[in-house]
């Protein structure tokens, strides 16, 4: 394997064309990155670990949405409901059927995928705005289901669940649970990256790029559109299940439409059609409120605060900044953080001959 990529396209096989890590450097960087993250619990404090864990499970769910929106060109504004279904399913599997958590999480992903296939069925017939409204219905139907299905979700009071455990070890603290989330992130992201190299993955992209050409090439549109919903829901379910066993409490209140919009924000900010972009978008969404909160704390009690009489409304700044960030990204960085990252990499690689 080459240490560097040559200038110009010298790839002669599909295998070379499809590789995820084109150079030795990128592969080493990946392993070094994972190794560094493994050291994180030893050096970072609990607060930063908490943020990283959040980025992890939200990133997995965002990746699911990215497969649906970015790779297949469908739309869903009910992703939080699937995330919630995964959370409830895992808690239910563990608490009622006494399935070990380590097994309940993937099973919850599968259950959510089934539900996703059902709610994705309209995608076989609908496009664009009409599909958006159909998924909006999924959001409300599932939310209402969560509030009423006492046997499954504990009703409006929610369900308290247990931490992740494996071989008698409880992963109930930030330091330990971090590894669980990290493992899932690696597996799920590798899975998605590889999925896009398969025949099915390429079919999804073809559906996005031009559905009519795709159909003429023999791709079953209805099948792949619905499949995309199933895959997206699987990822959402895994993310939700990881969330459930981290927070240890699942309540219908968390999975509202606002959260669905946040997922859309993550994939737009991260970069539509980019695997790593999903993680970047999730990181952005998790860190932005923290940064704004820090700024708000600085502002609180300052002359600006007094002059504008912000007072209690300073906490609303957070919500407004998130909205503003999405608008600004759509205007100035429509390809998202992943694109910006590629530009930065290219700048360093090609310096000083970037043209």
């Amino acid at each position: 394997m080459a240490v560097m990529t040559p200038a110009g396209d010298y790839r002669t096989t599909y295998r070379e064309d499809m590789t995820i890590f084109p150079t030795l450097g990128s592969r080493v960087a990946l392993w070094a990155g994972i190794a560094l993250l493994c050291l994180a619990p030893l050096v970072l404090d609990r607060y930063l670990l908490h943020l990283l864990i959040n980025i992890g499970f939200l990133g997995i769910a965002a990746l699911g949405l990215n497969i649906l929106v970015g790779f297949t060109g469908q739309i869903s504004i009910g992703h939080a409901a699937f995330f919630g279904f995964g959370a409830f399913a895992s808690a239910w599997l563990h608490d009622v059927l006494h399935v070990p958590v380590a097994l309940a999480i993937p099973l919850a992903g599968l259950m959510t995928a089934m539900v996703g296939l059902v709610f994705g069925a309209p995608a076989a017939r609908l496009k664009g705005l009409y599909l958006a409204i159909a998924t909006l219905a999924a959001q409300f139907i599932l939310e209402d289901f969560f509030a009423r299905a006492q046997w499954f979700t504990g009703g409006v009071a929610g369900r308290v669940t247990e931490p992740f455990g494996l071989f008698g070890i409880a992963f109930d603290r930030d330091e330990t649970y971090f590894y669980v989330v990290l493992a899932f992130v690696v597996v799920m992201f590798l899975g998605a990256a590889n999925l896009m190299r398969t025949r099915d993955g390429r079919a999804l992209v073809a559906v996005r790029d031009h559905y009519l050409s795709a159909e003429m090439m023999g791709i079953n549109l209805a099948y792949y559109r619905t499949l995309s919903f199933g895959i997206a829901s699987f990822y959402a379910g895994i993310g939700g299940a990881l969330y459930a066993h981290y927070l240890l409490f699942v309540s219908v209140e968390a999975f509202n439409i606002l959260f669905s919009i946040q997922f859309l924000g993550m994939v737009i900010i991260g970069g539509l059609g980019s695997v790593m972009g999903s993680l970047m978008g999730a990181a952005f969404m998790v860190l932005l409120p923290e940064v704004v909160q820090g700024l708000a704390n600085l502002l609180a009690g300052s002359p600006i605060d007094r002059a504008l009489r912000l007072g209690a409304s300073i906490s609303y700044l957070r919500e407004m900044v998130i909205g503003a960030a999405i608008i600004l990204f759509l205007m100035f960085e429509p390809d998202g953080l992943a694109h910006r990252w590629r530009l930065i990499k290219a700048y360093w690689k090609l310096y000083p001959y970037s043209h």
Binding site: D45, Y47, G158, V160, L247, F249, A312
Partner: protein
């Protein structure tokens, strides 16, 4: 005054300069300042915050250790409360928490029991009173570290139903009175539903199917028409003031003649001003012996506490503010008990501090807070339900709450005090 403030400032600066001398005591304070119940969450949270700030300023904290109060506005989202709880316990190592809503408090029962952290909620859900888990009721777990100040939602409703029964007979009405539960499908309004409907049946009421309305303000004309078509006589409003106002106004417009019974969070002076004459006649429990503007030995202290956030001393404080002060001061005094004889201010010792006194009124708040007694297997602090009626005689659009109360346009009149029997079979629901 300015010298006093300078001295105080120096004292505060000194306190920061010598951190090793006395480690501050970390205390969590969960507030709803922006969510569905922020209408009552803001005054209550302010009461708690002011009381704790006052303890730091005048008593130098608990046993010479200042309270490091960590406030967090969780917007009435139970999952956010749980996440914040874990942050507080793991990172800040709080020894006690002043909490808020029913959904989050009930969700946290298992956590605070495991971590042995006294949790003083503003949720008075009866499920939190079964400290030893002896009630044997389904879904009710032992809650040995949960406390609240005031009658439980269920007991308050039982008191109101007993009053309603007397009211029905006193007015010489014929037939069976009809009772209906109203509220959102949410743990908080649901909490006393079963208890209320059961007692209503026992007392001879006809119980109508419950009517739902959301925790947020909206158009509830449909609910009022249902109320009228069903011919309800007594209706329990299980939500907080904001959405109850919408119901009261809609029902006034629709001309519905029903005696409304408010939850303890369902009515206050701000709501009376907002609802105007629609609020006239609503009966609701008040947790303190006095309301703002009345006098009692302890009101001197409360006015000092109020100055923590209102230096002019002109603000009108609604009933929830006083309740917040009482519940914060109970915790402070339990901490002082824990700290006695060089004891450690730890969760289990603070809990034991709640058991140390009978008919307990926090020092300096005599005549304001009502006496409470907690025992190791029964956390129903009080079985006394003091019922008041909101009286609104004129236009409330003009003038502040303080003006309207002073002028008598709005009044909170005592109606009856119901002393409930401490029945074992009422524990935990």
């Amino acid at each position: 005054m300015s010298i006093k403030r300078t001295v105080l400032g120096l004292a505060v600066a000194g306190g920061f300069a010598l951190p090793a001398a006395a480690q501050p005591i970390p205390v969590g304070h969960l507030m709803d300042n922006s969510g569905a119940t922020s209408d009552v969450g803001v005054p209550y949270g302010q009461g708690v915050a002011d009381a704790l700030a006052w303890v730091n300023a005048t008593r130098n904290g608990v046993n010479g250790r200042r309270l490091n109060v960590l406030g967090f506005d969780y917007g009435y989202q139970a999952p956010r409360a749980v996440a914040q709880y874990q942050a507080w316990v793991n990172r800040e190592r709080v020894v006690a928490i002043q909490g808020w809503g029913t959904a989050d408090t009930e969700a946290l029962v298992r956590f605070v029991t495991r971590d042995r952290i006294p949790y003083i909620s503003a949720s008075y859900s009866a499920a939190l009173t079964d400290a030893a888990g002896r009630s044997g009721r389904q879904g009710v777990e032992a809650a040995p570290f949960n406390f609240f100040y005031g009658p439980s939602y269920s007991d308050a409703l039982r008191g109101m139903l007993q009053w309603a029964k007397q009211d029905w007979e006193r007015r010489g009405q014929q037939g069976r009175p009809r009772y209906v539960h109203m509220g959102a499908n949410h743990p908080y309004p649901n909490s006393p539903k079963e208890a209320g409907e059961t007692l209503a049946r026992e007392l001879g009421f006809e119980v109508l199917p419950a009517i739902q309305f959301a925790l947020t303000p909206g158009d509830y004309t449909a609910q009022c028409l249902t109320l009228r078509n069903q011919g309800a006589h007594y209706a329990y409003l299980g939500n907080t003031a904001g959405s109850n106002i919408s119901v009261l106004r809609a029902c006034q417009t629709a001309g519905v003649q029903v005696q409304f019974l408010g939850n303890v969070w369902g009515m206050d002076e701000n709501a009376m001003k907002a609802a105007g004459t629609a609020a006239n006649g609503v009966v609701f429990p008040v947790r303190t012996a006095v309301v703002w503007g009345q006098d009692a030995p302890g009101m001197q202290t409360v006015r000092q506490i109020s100055r923590q956030s209102d230096q002019a001393g002109t603000a009108y404080r609604p009933v929830h503010y006083l309740a917040g002060v009482c519940s914060a001061m109970l915790m402070v005094e339990a901490m002082e008990t824990a700290a006695q004889n060089g004891g450690e201010v730890s969760g289990p010792r603070i809990r034991d501090g709640f058991y140390a006194r009978q008919n307990w009124v926090p020092r300096g708040l005599e005549g304001v807070c009502v006496p409470v007694t907690y025992t190791a297997d029964d956390h129903r602090g009080t079985m006394r339900v003091a019922l008041y009626r909101a009286v609104v005689t004129g236009d409330t659009a003009q003038g502040s709450v303080a003006d309207l109360m002073r002028a008598g346009t709005m009044r909170i009149e005592p109606v009856a005090t119901i002393e409930l029997e401490r029945r074992r079979d009422w524990l935990g629901w």
